[in-house]
Subunit: 130 residues, 2 copies
DNA sequence: TTTGGAAAACCAAATGCATCGTATTTACTC
DNA sequence: GAGTAAATACGATGCATTTGGTTTTCCAAA
């Protein structure tokens, strides 16, 4: 009885979800129109992706006129957390600190970004409920 | 002429690379023996994965006796950075700070882990070459 | 030195999923 | 009812994962 829910989005699925998260909800056309110029997908391709997302329960749809309007069933935040957990588990021995260690070692990080990161951590530590 | 270097490991490839990184180098048998009990892959499956990794230039091999010995061509650190960059780009608007924000918002993070994270960031900020 | 066997390499493919599209049908609008 | 835009059905292609069957390679014993 292994309920091995995949839970993670594929590359193209994520591409579509990002647009849905940005606009809240939308039709196939809405999403397609938001993709970059050079990404010239056929209408049916977009429809297929959204249908698959619905099947995997990442989105739901409702009928409006002749179109379906799709909306995410999970918040982007939630999915971000899930992804980080997955990456941490697979590549960082399930140790979030070592993930951050690698991140802040990145030479291309700006000082500004570093400052922001410290501020975030500090704020969180202060707000810790005792 | 798009030279679309994939650059990222698949799930099983990563599983194998993790073992190679742990032991430095090894044969098909060496890697297979390190996988968890319940992961009962056929020998040929392991050999195939390593051959693909070699083809993608994530490992090289040398002959020793009748076996091949495989070793990584890139450090785990390097690949960690690459993965984080990819995740940050695809899911965090290319803003590492928001990635950390999500990470430290995770309720399951221990206070200890949070402290470690802050220490890392502080150390990095102090060591900034002026 | 030959040979027999074990371990590994090599080859070729089956399965399943992700991506993308064409052809066809359906459903509004005027 | 004609025209248009969306939905649905269906399938081609390619990659990831896994394996079985066959050949090669090396070692050790007769």
């Amino acid at each position: 009885m292994k309920k091995k829910k995949s839970a993670l989005l594929t590359e193209v699925e994520l591409e579509f979800m990002n647009e849905l998260w940005a606009i809240g909800e939308g039709t196939v056309r809405d999403v397609l129109d938001r993709l970059p110029q050079e990404r010239a997908l056929a209408y049916t391709s977009g429809a297929t992706i959204l249908r698959i997302l619905e099947q995997k329960e990442f989105v739901t749809s409702r009928k409006a006129g002749k179109s379906h309007i799709y909306s995410p069933t999970l918040a982007k935040d939630t999915y971000q957390t899930r992804s980080l957990k997955d990456l941490s588990m697979k590549l960082f021995d399930d140790t979030p600190a070592s993930l951050v260690a690698r991140l802040v070692d990145d030479d291309t990080l700006t000082e500004e970004a570093l400052g922001q990161i410290r501020a975030l951590v500090d704020r969180r530590l202060k707000n810790e409920s005792g």
